[in-house]
């Protein structure tokens, strides 16, 4: 009998707080496109996701981490637990939850879908990975594929009969996709013959479904060099032919051994070794990269949510441990006969827990906010609201992707730390989550790429319009927090940090405008840190304002609201001051790593 583990994975009360007290889900559900949904349907769906996560996915997490997929006779066999999990996740409806009925979906707001998914990711991120990738592949076909391609490939993907992958990376072309070399030769029959090698293809082979569709970047013969000569293809492992499926010359070249996400195979694949790999062009020739970019926000938010979820599950594990592990006595208590106290009674342990909470819940809240912007960008009534939401979402995406991964990693190290010596043993789970988390700052655009995306592309876009909108949002939150009765010192600190961010952004923007790209981007990593610290501070102020507003009506939730206020105070008082320092650093032109030559190392 599956029994509920003591680790809740993600706090139910906090997710309900986000949905109903912070993100105004009722307002979203009032939009015409979401008319089918009610608070009740959302509640039942969340209940199912929580239950599946706790009863089915979480118990399989450790076994899947310990026994990664194996390559046998050229094919990959995954953990047998996945054979139970996969069909039930398909049945739950996660693959197409947010899609319209014509794409097999129920048009659930992404705000709900992504927060529900956080439980699945926290329980077993590899298990969810197979489905997340499949949705991504199906989305590309839904947006850019011809009706024939949709019929052939999108349907089976959304129905979960087949799975999908993103086959972008090649050994020589990782972050630099313009160097993709896989070739596609047109044929008279309309398909292309594809030849090339891909690497780090997650879910690239397995024995869960009879077929896999690789959404692959390749160059059509004679295409222009660089980014403008890359096209997108659907390449099935087995191609539909003569009413059945025949092998499509896609071979597994090797399994990659990873430190984390071990339940999901990452592969090297060879296409067309025998000259018989059929690829089907998605959309127009040479537009592959731009198609990918249009899907990038969602993919990056998904990785951000993986980061938040992986930090969350470790936070709860270490919290439970700290409450029950007796060790030592209170400072000043010299009586050796006095019983030992649980380690949570030590202030430094509470510091580590509150820091984890500030990072983890701050990340979940930011991702919830980003999902809400995505819903509004697509479904708001007025064009102006849609445009503003889209603009803000673009700006916040690199932060929502990288903060949960980078600071989530720090949070995961704190969870290990709280467990002390047990923390660094594989008998306990936190070390596994630490390993998992590291991948999130690398895949789907490294943190370095995110920093360049933020400062080089998103901030200056449209004359800084999105950045201006963010400052307006922060100011509105500050006003709201003040009205709600939040401690004025916290509000002032957020206002002060926002001012510092504004000034350094104007300064760096002017460098860029003068053509000094190097000067503008030299400290892009520090700028990303600054903007992320600021945005999370803003998010916590928002949470604190909502808590302040509702606490009188819900005296039974006193502890929960105190917990929100404490974490907000912690982040705003102890982390937000770094914004000023980071702004100085960005302005300073400090050039140690710019000047240093490779041979000096």
């Amino acid at each position: 009998m599956p029994s509920a583990p003591t680790n809740p994975l993600v706090s139910d009360r906090f997710i309900d707080f986000l949905l109903f007290e912070v993100l105004d889900l009722e307002g979203l559900l009032a939009l015409p496109d979401f008319a089918e949904h009610t608070r009740e349907t959302v509640g039942i769906y969340l209940g199912t996701a929580r239950r599946l996560a706790r009863e089915l996915l979480f118990p399989a997490y450790k076994p899947m981490d310990e026994a990664p997929p194996r390559l046998e006779n050229g094919r990959v066999r995954v953990h047998r637990a996945m054979h139970d999990i996969y069909p039930r996740l398909v049945e739950l409806g996660v693959l197409s939850a947010t899609r319209p009925p014509e794409a097999y979906g129920q048009r659930l707001p992404l705000t709900v879908a992504s927060l529900a998914t956080s439980y699945l990711m926290a329980a077993n991120l590899s298990a969810y990975g197979y489905l997340g990738l499949t949705t991504g592949a199906a989305r590309l076909l839904e947006s850019f594929g011809s009706d024939e391609l949709k019929e052939r490939f999108m349907g089976p993907l959304y129905r979960g009969e087949w799975t999908g992958t993103m086959a972008l990376t090649e050994p020589q072309a990782g972050s630099s996709l313009s160097d993709v070399e896989t070739r596609a030769t047109p044929t008279a029959e309309g398909h292309y013959l594809v030849k090339g090698s891909k690497i780090f293809i997650s879910g690239g082979d397995h024995d869960l479904t009879e077929n896999i569709v690789h959404l692959t970047l390749a160059r059509i013969d004679g295409a222009p060099p660089g980014i403008k000569g890359i096209s997108l293809f659907a390449i099935p492992k087995n191609r539909p032919e003569r009413g059945g499926l025949v092998p499509n010359d896609v071979e597994v070249a090797g399994v990659i051994h990873k430190i984390g996400w071990r339940g999901l195979p990452s592969l090297a694949l060879n296409f067309g070794e025998a000259g018989d790999c059929h690829g089907y062009l998605v959309g127009e020739p040479h537009r592959g990269i731009s198609y990918m970019f249009q899907m990038m926000n969602e993919a990056r938010l998904m990785i951000g949510m993986n980061g938040a979820a992986t930090a969350s599950v470790a936070f709860h594990e270490s919290l439970e441990y700290a409450k029950t592990r007796p060790q030592g006595r209170r400072l000043g208590d010299k009586d050796p006969r006095a019983p030992q106290i649980p380690i949570i009674e030590h202030a430094d342990v509470r510091r580590m827990l509150l820091r984890q909470k500030a990072i983890t819940w701050g990340s979940l809240a930011l991702l919830g906010l980003a999902a809400r912007l995505s819903d509004l960008a697509e479904h708001a009534r007025e064009e102006a609201s849609r445009a503003r939401a889209a603009m803000l979402l673009d700006l916040l995406t690199p932060i929502a992707k990288s903060f949960p991964a980078e600071r989530g990693f720090e949070s995961n190290t704190l969870a290990v730390q709280v467990l002390g010596g047990y923390g660094y043993t594989s008998e306990y789970l936190p070390e596994a989550w630490l390993r998992d988390q590291k991948l999130n700052s690398i895949h789907e655009g490294t943190t370095g790429i995110q920093s360049l995306d933020l400062l080089g592309r998103k901030v200056p876009a449209a004359g800084g319009a999105a950045f201006g909108a963010l400052l307006e949002e922060i100011a509105a939150t500050c006003d709201g927090a003040r009205d709600a009765g939040v401690n004025p010192d916290l509000v002032q600190r957020v206002e002060g940090a926002a001012m510092a961010m504004r000034q350094i952004t104007l300064h760096l923007g002017s460098l860029g405008a003068q053509g000094d790209v190097r000067g503008m981007l030299l400290h892009s990593a520090d700028y990303l840190d600054l903007a992320s610290t600021m945005v999370i501070g803003w998010t916590w102020l928002r949470l604190a304002a909502a808590a302040q507003k509702n606490r009188a009506d819900r005296p039974q939730d006193h502890d929960f609201y105190e917990g929100i206020t404490s974490a907000a105070q912690y982040w705003i008082r102890t982390e937000l001051p770094r914004v000023g320092y980071l702004a100085q650093l960005c302005r300073s032109g400090e050039d140690s790593y710019d000047r240093v030559r490779p041979e000096w190392f």
Partner: protein
């Protein structure tokens, strides 16, 4: 086969520390509690669904499952969730939690059974809030139907159910003729616990209860859910059970160390009085 399943919602047993008793001790304060279906009733629903299908094709229903609960408007969420997992219809008997007891619920269910005419009434062996373990038995008596309590396995036969009950020292198997009342225990949701005549005996279910998938949640909005007045089912609403007081269990005291075995024996005998 037509099955009536009685479902009760209970305060979330995983958050039992939220249950508060006011100083007067006259009732339980239910404000701010989170509610969940009584787990044993969820198992009864799962058993009902298994009895009304071929387990290899669970999307094709073969029979009817009607769920009923007693409570205020917000208990409809419990019913809606049951509809989303496969029940066909739902009935909410409008009632207030603190104006019900096992006897009244059983009398109202009897009236409902006479109207609905199910072949089987299924419910959990007890609710995890009051642990009264009464309704199924009283209902069977009132209806004068055969009854099997604490069912761990059910196998459908022509016109009867073969029910396995785990008892001290083994399994007692009863054949109950239909119509009948059956209350279920934990193991009824194990993979090979319940077989309808349509499900092949080689079929294995997923362990546990089935869940509400998103498409089914949306489809459940269109399934009928009706409200019935308690007075229409049970004109006499007098309670047979009255509660005289509530108190939290005493907080656990710190242990002590005894010097030797004789002190231990003495304390067990004279203080704990267990010897």
């Amino acid at each position: 086969m037509k099955i009536l399943v009685a479902l009760k919602r209970v305060a979330d047993p995983d958050n039992a520390n939220k249950v508060k008793i006011p100083a007067s001790g006259e009732k339980i304060d239910t404000t701010g509690l989170e509610w969940k279906p009584n787990p044993f009733d969820e198992y009864a629903l799962e058993a009902a669904l298994r009895l009304t299908e071929n387990g290899t094709q669970p999307k094709v229903r073969a029979g009817e499952v009607v769920v009923v609960t007693f409570g205020p408007k917000e208990t409809e969420t419990t019913l809606r969730a049951a509809l989303a997992t496969g029940a066909d219809r739902a009935i909410r008997v409008d009632a207030s939690d603190d104006k019900l007891d096992g006897d009244l619920v059983a009398r109202a269910l009897k009236a409902l059974v006479e109207k609905e005419k199910p072949d089987v009434v299924l419910m959990g062996k007890q609710a995890v809030d009051g642990d009264s373990n009464q309704v199924g038995q009283i209902l069977a008596e009132l209806l004068d139907w055969p009854m099997a309590t604490f069912a761990a396995t059910i196998r459908e036969e022509a016109g009867a159910l073969l029910v396995g009950r785990e008892v001290d020292g083994g399994v007692s198997t009863l054949r109950v003729k239909l119509p009948a009342v059956v209350t279920v225990d934990l193991r009824i949701v194990a993979p090979t616990s319940v077989y309808s005549t349509k499900t092949p005996s080689t079929h294995k279910y997923n362990d546990g209860v089935r869940f509400a998938a998103l498409p089914a949640i949306m489809a459940a909005k269109k399934k009928p859910l009706v409200e019935v007045k308690l007075a229409d089912l049970a004109p006499d609403q007098a309670l047979k059970v009255s509660y005289h007081g509530f108190a939290a269990p005493p907080a656990r005291k710190a242990g002590i160390k005894v010097k030797d075995v004789s002190e231990l024996v003495s304390k067990l005998k004279n203080e704990a009085k267990v010897l």
